[in-house]
């Protein structure tokens, strides 16, 4: 159920300067991700998986080349424009959940809505819906420290979904979870992809996790080495 191109990377280069050395992560990298795709990105440490995710999410800029999202250039946006673009188009799911420890689950989920013009009632309605979607409606008033890792990751998913972004970026979303919980989270991501049409890019070390994706990209030394389609 993939469609038009959502993300297009053309000749993307990324270099870091560390002391006197220049480290090249990507050199003329190309990638196209259609809307509705679910891509797993695998590869050894240092292969550039996280950097790729940073570039796709607009929290880092390429040294060269272009990144297009939904037909518009992202790599030319200013910091402020990128912040607005992220708020509207991208949901982030981290390995260690990165919830605010001082806020309840509901407040954590509500955070991205502070960047919108929704009123209090609308925000409340959306938060309840998002928490229900991840099966945590009854834990709305619990703090992260009162929840298990799996529950915290579900809250993080609800937070990523709340502003209805087209793209979900997941950085090792099951890296800190046991197998059963990991499968629950991955099933949820697959459901979001299949039922809600969310485009998902997931970085993972876990081959079992990659099986939930539509396709897997193998990255090594800044290049895609193999492309594998999953049924």
């Amino acid at each position: 159920m993939t469609g038009q191109t959502l993300i297009h990377l053309q000749d993307v280069s990324k270099r870091f300067v560390k002391g006197r050395d220049t480290i090249t992560i990507f050199d003329h990298l190309g990638l196209t991700i259609p809307a509705g795709d679910f891509v797993a990105v695998m590869g050894p440490s240092g292969s550039g998986k996280t950097t790729l995710l940073n570039l796709l999410g607009g929290i880092d800029q390429p040294t060269g080349g272009s990144i297009t999202f939904d037909g518009g250039r992202v790599d030319t946006l200013t910091e402020g424009q990128l912040a607005r673009w992220r708020a509207h188009n991208v949901g982030f799911i981290f390995q260690f959940y990165n919830l605010m420890p001082t806020l309840t689950a509901a407040r954590n989920v509500e955070l991205p809505l502070l960047l919108t013009s929704f009123g209090r009632a609308e925000r409340k309605r959306r938060v309840e819906a998002a928490l229900s979607l991840v099966g945590l409606a009854e834990r709305a008033n619990h703090y992260p420290r009162e929840m298990s890792g799996g529950q915290q990751q579900r809250v993080a998913i609800a937070r990523a979904l709340i502003s209805d972004p087209k793209l979900l970026l997941c950085d090792e979303p099951t890296g800190d979870l046991d197998r059963t919980t990991a499968d629950e989270i991955l099933s949820m991501l697959r459901l979001l992809n299949q039922e809600m049409g969310k485009t998902i890019v997931m970085v993972t070390h876990d081959p079992e996790a990659a099986k939930y994706a539509r396709r897997t990209l193998h990255l090594d030394k800044g290049r895609f080495t193999e492309r594998e389609l999953v049924a």
Binding site: N54, G80, A83, R86, A87, H88, M100, R107, R123
Partner: protein, 387 residues
């Protein structure tokens, strides 16, 4: 939920730490409020002196006397409207610790010069002028010791001996109570007849402590002052004529440079909290580096996060400072009653409170600036360790 809610939750993330910071700020502003009010009362009291009043003192030092004969000579100078004089008595009541500002004066001319500062019943005024062994007591002293008109009170001197009885005591009748016509006028005083004092003291006869005069207008002050000092130049008692404000300040300077002492104490208190709160704020925000990076990742603009961190430190300063000022206000009120008007106009005034609030905002901005700036410049990739 609002940005303020986020700010509030962050501020009280570590309750004990926040409480201790609030306490430190609170104490600093109590100190500021009390000392600032005392300083203001002193300054304001001196400032309330009339512009056309000059004080003539001995050029060597104002505790050296002047010949009584100078009074008449000064009165004859062009531009001088009224002249009076006073002599420091070193008075106390019962115990040397109960010191009272006691002055031997010429009743009629003294009350004429201070007509706009003191309010006294005309009958009591006449009684004071006509009874050589009487005194007028300032309201603050009368209230403190419960003295009434007609009471005979033994007033002691730590300088002079009474020829009549060989003691240091002068028994004086309360002829009247003087009230301050201006709030800032100190009513913690006693005035009694110079004539009585001059006749009964064992030394320093026909001398006065200082001479106070009223000029026709403030515009001729300099001319009159120069004429007086020229008149007595090369005499055994040369004079120094200055405005009453300058004299008041010199008199207060006997106690030490009050403004400097207060500034140093308040400055030390502020410097300490600046370091404590500044350092703690930097640490507190550094602890949240990852959370700030997550907020930025979610799309929160940098300026909004900058505003939040700065708002947090300003709120902290207000939470400590405002109750501190309120308590200082109460302490000043208690102090004012306890001091029985020794420091007239002692109250937490609007200028002192306003400056206090300005200090709070400044403290908040200064302590919050660095962590806010760090948050503003925070690089998401670096902060999340996503290289």
């Amino acid at each position: 939920m609002s940005d303020f809610y986020l700010l509030w939750r962050n501020l009280f993330r570590r309750k004990l730490r926040t409480f201790l910071m609030i306490l430190a700020i609170f104490v600093a502003f109590v100190i500021y409020g009390v000392l600032g009010s005392i300083n203001y009362a002193f300054e304001h009291g001196v400032d309330s002196s009339a512009d056309n009043r000059l004080v003539v003192v001995n050029k060597i030092t104002f505790i050296q006397p002047l010949p009584y004969a100078y009074v008449g000579k000064i009165a004859a100078i062009k531009g001088v409207k009224n002249v009076t004089f006073a002599n420091w008595f070193g008075g106390y009541y019962q115990d040397a610790r109960n010191q009272i500002g006691t002055f031997a004066v010429d009743p009629e001319s003294y009350l004429r010069i201070y007509r706009d500062d003191l309010r006294i019943d005309p009958a009591q005024r006449d009684a004071f002028i006509h009874d050589r062994t009487s005194m007028v007591v300032g309201e603050a002293i009368a209230t403190k010791y419960g003295w009434k008109v007609g009471d005979r009170i033994p007033i002691n001197s730590n300088i002079f001996t009474n020829k009549a009885n060989g003691s240091h005591t002068w028994e004086l009748t309360v002829a009247g109570i003087a009230y301050a016509a201006k709030e800032s006028f100190n009513t913690s005083f006693i005035i009694f007849q110079y004539e009585n004092f001059n006749e009964s003291k064992t030394f320093g006869k026909d001398t006065v402590g200082w001479i106070t005069l009223e000029t026709d207008s403030a515009a001729v002050n300099d001319t009159v002052a120069a004429t007086i000092d020229d008149l007595f130049a090369n005499s055994t008692a040369e004079t120094n004529t200055q405005s009453e404000k300058a004299f008041g300040k010199a008199f207060l300077a006997q106690l030490g440079n009050i403004a400097l002492i207060i500034t140093l104490v308040v400055g030390a208190a502020f410097a300490t909290i600046l370091m404590i709160v500044g350092n703690t704020m930097v640490m507190a925000v550094r602890e949240r580096t990852k959370e700030i990076a997550v907020l930025k990742t979610l799309g929160f603009p940098s300026w909004r996060i900058w505003r939040q961190v700065l708002g947090e430190s300003v709120l902290l300063a207000l939470l400590g400072g405002l109750p501190g000022l309120a308590v200082a206000g109460l302490l000043v009120m208690v102090l004012s009653k306890g001091a029985s008007g020794a420091i007239p106009g002692l109250a937490l005034t609007l200028p002192v409170a306003g400056l206090g609030v300005a200090f709070m905002l400044l403290l908040g901005v200064v302590t919050g600036f660095l962590p806010a700036w760090n948050a503003l410049r925070l690089n998401i990739v670096t902060a999340l360790g996503r290289l």
